[in-house]
């Protein structure tokens, strides 16, 4: 197996979906090929980086607007539960 063959199988290997017989060859190649090992490492780290998550902060004015919109919508979805009750009794 050559380095270019590894590239073609890279997705399956990283996703754990590689055919077991190819997997053995893949790993045998990596034992003798430091650059390929590092590339695979880098790829795994790349994926982890983006899974690690939330990077962008919500701008504060938008956050306030969002929550205000939710409270407004909530009222239309949740009209006063008991017809006899004071509609303001649950505010707070």
């Amino acid at each position: 197996m050559k380095c270019t063959d590894l590239l073609a199988l890279l997705n399956d290997y990283v996703d754990g979906a590689i055919d077991p017989s190819l997997c053995a060859q893949f790993e045998a190649h990596m034992v003798g090929c430091n650059p390929c090992q590092v590339v695979i490492d880098n790829i795994r780290q790349t994926i982890t980086l983006y899974q690690n998550g939330a990077v962008h902060e919500l701008p504060l004015p938008f956050r306030q607007q969002l929550h205000a919109a939710l409270r407004e919508k909530w009222k239309t979805c949740h009209p006063c539960p008991s017809p006899a009750g004071d509609p303001r009794s649950s505010t707070g």
């Binding site: 045998a28 880098n42 790829i43 790349t46 939330a54 962008h56 409270r71």
Partner: protein, 221 residues
């Protein structure tokens, strides 16, 4: 970072009519939804739009949400579809897929070989902890072609299967795989140029095919 309550409890309370619980759920997930929308759409205005649509939508359909799936997955799906809808609208392609039929040549093109190969100087955890490096990470993604970026975000970040990614974007599964591979390789290249240790850079020309007969211990079962 452990949450004070799992989403399950908050969802139950919100479904029972507790607005505070719904706002707590929103607070917990709003950043990641906003980030997802930013990554797909690339601008603040549309990202805000998608974020608001997502939580209003979730609020409206909360009663129908079943606790078998996670709240997080549910709202991430809502946000993904809302963001893709905006992309389609931008192009006036309301009903058709996001794609033009240009993929036939794509699979035939040679893959770009890794050029700059080096261990990174910091772990992913360290890199995502700091503002400057987080910005560099987002920039690398934003610089990808949209067709590669979308596949990467859906498949690798949002955890769609290959089939779901294909169905969502109107692509073949083969196409998703090719684009994902290209996206991963391009991101790796860009990020390694930023985070790789130049003193430990390796050349892929440095070695040839490894010996056919591995040394003792290296052979598999």
């Amino acid at each position: 970072m452990t949450a004070p309550y799992p989403d399950h409890d908050l969802v139950c309370r919100a479904q029972a009519g507790d607005l505070d619980a719904f706002e707590a759920l929103t607070t917990r997930h709003e950043r990641s939804i906003y980030c997802l929308a930013q990554r797909i759409l690339g601008n603040t205005h549309d990202a805000e739009d998608v974020t608001q649509t997502t939580f209003l939508n979730a609020l409206e359909h909360l009663a129908g949400f079943r606790l078998e799936s996670s709240f997080s997955t549910w709202i991430h799906r809502i946000a993904t579809f809302a963001a893709l809808k905006i992309l389609r609208k931008r192009r006036g392609l309301e009903t058709v897929s996001l794609e033009e039929a240009t993929f036939s040549s794509e699979e035939a093109e040679a893959l770009p070989l890794p050029e700059f190969i080096a261990d990174w100087t910091q772990s992913p955890e360290e890199l995502t902890a700091r503002q400057e490096t987080r910005q560099a990470i987002e920039n690398a993604l934003a610089e990808l072609d949209e067709k590669h970026r979308l596949v990467f975000v859906l498949r690798d970040v949002e955890g769609f299967s290959v089939r779901e990614t294909a169905e969502t974007l109107g692509l073949t599964e083969a196409n998703v795989k090719v684009r994902l591979l290209r996206a991963r390789l391009q991101l790796r290249e860009r990020l390694t140029r930023v985070f790789g240790d130049p003193q430990r850079a390796l050349s892929r020309h440095h070695h040839h095919q490894p010996a056919a007969a591995p040394t003792a211990g290296a052979s598999g079962a």
